[in-house]
């Protein structure tokens, strides 16, 4: 489903070029549950951004579902993010002035879906993550765990094949974090490809494959033999 080949990413800071990723190659099959681990500055977030089509590699080839991402226009990338990828962020990134259900509907706005249908599709998703009773609450009225659940529902609203989570439990207490992890693994069991960036080994332990990245390169890529 995903293949990255010799991906590099370089930033120019003043007169100096900073290379964040140098020659990263990997493939991801449909239905995998992957953890990407690495210290700060290792490039794991950058890798995640490139996989998520939020950023373009400086060189290398990124193939997502047979399409070569580097040939796509900005608008086409936006369409890929809209339909094919769901994002879950460490800081939840919900729109603060909107209710939970309106937040979940946001991707559908950019898919061109009308209001009534958006509502009808959002409600069951919120119920699925256990927030059916709080769909009209604003983010300030929800706990961290609840906000992250809204974010997950939002990420799923267009039935994307790929879910990317960047430190999804980073801002949560261990109980909420556990709940979130359960939801993510549950989704994976239903066929969604889930990639989690984390520094928490407990989270990585729940995933079937762990990729270690350091100084912009993959240093290990271990498939868990256990089921």
């Amino acid at each position: 489903m995903i293949s990255l080949s010799e991906i590099t990413k370089t930033y120019r800071m003043g007169e100096v070029d900073i290379t964040v990723l140098s020659g990263v190659s990997l493939s991801i099959q449909q239905g995998e549950l992957i953890a990407i681990m690495g210290p700060s500055g290792s490039g794991k977030s950058t890798l995640m951004n490139i996989i998520g089509c939020l950023d373009r590699p400086s060189s290398g080839v990124y193939r997502f579902e047979e399409r070569e991402i580097s040939t796509l226009t900005d608008d086409e990338l936006a369409a890929v993010r809209n339909r094919k990828i769901g994002f879950v962020f460490q800081t939840f990134n919900l729109l603060p002035r909107f209710t939970a259900i309106k937040n979940v509907e946001v991707p559908l706005i950019y898919s061109g879906i009308a209001g009534k249908e958006r509502h009808e599709r959002a409600v069951p998703l919120l119920e699925k993550v256990g927030l059916g009773e709080r769909m009209h609450h604003k983010p300030t009225e929800l706990s961290g765990g609840q906000q992250q659940r809204v974010a997950i529902a939002r990420a799923l609203i267009n039935n994307p094949p790929l879910l990317l989570a960047d430190e999804p439990t980073g801002n949560l207490d261990s109980r909420s974090g556990e709940e979130i992890l359960n939801i993510l693994t549950g989704l994976n069991r239903q066929g969604v490809t889930v990639v989690i960036v984390t520094h928490d080994p407990n989270v990585a332990a729940r995933c079937r494959r762990t990729i270690q990245i350091k100084d912009g390169q993959i240093v290990s890529d271990i498939h868990d033999a256990k089921g």
Partner: protein, 402 residues
């Protein structure tokens, strides 16, 4: 994202901070209101003058001594070595210009009218009976200057209503004797109340026979000759007739000017049109300032919502979706401001003449359409820069923004 959806998103943002949105709109509101109000005042003046001029009845021709190159202004008193227009000139026109229904001689001066101890400075018009018909100003009680009065140079006077009230209060002035510039005159009539006509306050004027006037002012020249012809189609030929007769009487010199009502109207129109445009332009400047205010606030708004822009882009919003969102927001602010400004402006334009009657106003549809179009254009023009800034945000940077 379709238009209605975009509009809803923009509306939500505007309503989320009503005070800020209201203050932002204020600039546009005031600008539009000023445009509507000032243009209405200018138009009101134009409509008023036009009504005055066309309300003069039959086609009025004003013959004045001296040749002016522009025709259509209100003429200053004759000066210098220019040959005068005489009472005989007027008589000649009466007899021989057959297209004219009237040719009325007019002398003009000022003087003091006194009734024992009450006195008043007043404008004195010396003329003939046909003046009433030609200028549509009639006597109310008593009688006007008569043909006999003119022939006899009688010392009779017809007074305007303000003069009557000042000098006589409620008493009947007819038959009373007054001093007019130190000569004894008898009051024979009071004019109908009229107000201002062609710049003169008729109520503050007194009329005497033209021949008496010439004696009073010690002149044999006239201020003007007023002529009229009933049909508009005849005006040009009437002018030709007048010129023909007068040039021969004036040693083959065209040392007089004939002004037509039409020319006066068009000059007035032009002058007031320019005035209105200038007023509108000045008001338009304030509208521009309002637009700058919108741009300012939109820039702040865009920066505050950097995170939101990043989130939307991560969810699949394209550059143009973000651009549309902020453009519509700016245009809604300026459009709503425009509508409110129009309502307030029209309201004021309708109320002010009730309280201040020297300021007539005329609200026209085109000024409303123009003002609204302007406010929409302001929204577009001043919204582009902030909207572009928003649209070109890098989603990753935006998501990191605190």
């Amino acid at each position: 994202m379709n238009l209605i959806e975009t509009f809803r998103v923009s509306l939500e943002a505007i309503l989320s901070n009503k005070v800020r949105s209201g203050l932002t709109m204020l600039g546009v509101i005031i600008g539009v209101m000023a445009v509507i109000l000032l243009v209405s005042i200018g138009e009101g003046a134009r409509v008023y003058i036009t009504k005055e001029l066309t309300g003069l009845g039959t086609n009025l021709l004003i013959i004045t001594p001296g040749k002016t190159s522009t025709s259509g202004g209100f003429h200053p008193p004759s000066a210098g070595t220019v040959r005068k227009l005489t009472y005989d000139d007027a008589q000649a026109l009466r007899r021989r210009a057959w297209l004219l229904t009237d040719a009325v001689p007019v002398v003009l001066g000022t003087g003091r009218i006194k009734n024992s101890n009450l006195g008043r400075d007043t404008m004195i018009i010396g003329t003939t009976p046909e003046f009433q018909r030609v200028r549509n100003l009639y006597v109310d009680t008593g009688s006007y200057v008569s043909e006999a009065d003119v022939d006899a140079k009688s010392k009779i006077v017809v007074i305007g209503t303000k003069v009557k009230e000042e000098l006589f209060g409620d008493r009947n002035p007819l038959g009373q004797v007054v001093m007019l510039s130190d000569a004894r005159y008898r009051v024979v009539g009071v004019m109908r109340k009229k107000g201002t006509s062609l710049g003169w306050d008729i109520d503050d004027v007194v009329f005497i026979p033209v021949t008496s006037g010439q004696e009073l002012f010690d002149t044999d020249g006239l201020f003007e000759i007023l002529a009229s012809t009933p049909r508009a189609e005849d005006v040009d030929r009437a002018i030709a007739q007048i010129k023909d007769i007068l040039i021969r009487r004036h040693a083959h010199k065209e040392d007089f000017t004939i002004q037509t009502q039409g020319a006066m109207l068009s000059t007035m129109n032009t002058i007031l049109g320019v005035l209105t445009a200038v007023l509108g332009g000045i008001a338009g400047i304030s509208l521009l300032v309002g637009g700058i205010g919108i741009m300012n606030i939109m820039l702040v708004s865009v920066r505050e919502r950097t995170r939101e822009i990043g989130i939307r882009k991560a969810m699949g919003a394209r550059n143009r979706d973000i651009m549309a969102q902020f453009m519509i927001e700016a245009m809604t602010l300026s459009g709503a401001g425009g509508v409110i400004g129009i309502v307030v402006g029209v309201g004021l334009a309708l109320i002010i003449p009730v309280f201040v009657d020297v300021l007539p106003t005329s609200v026209s549809a085109w000024s409303i359409i123009m003002a609204f179009t302007f406010s929409a254009a302001v929204g577009i023009f001043f919204g582009v820069y902030p909207a572009r800034k928003a649209a070109l945000q890098d989603p990753i940077q935006a998501l990191r923004y605190e």
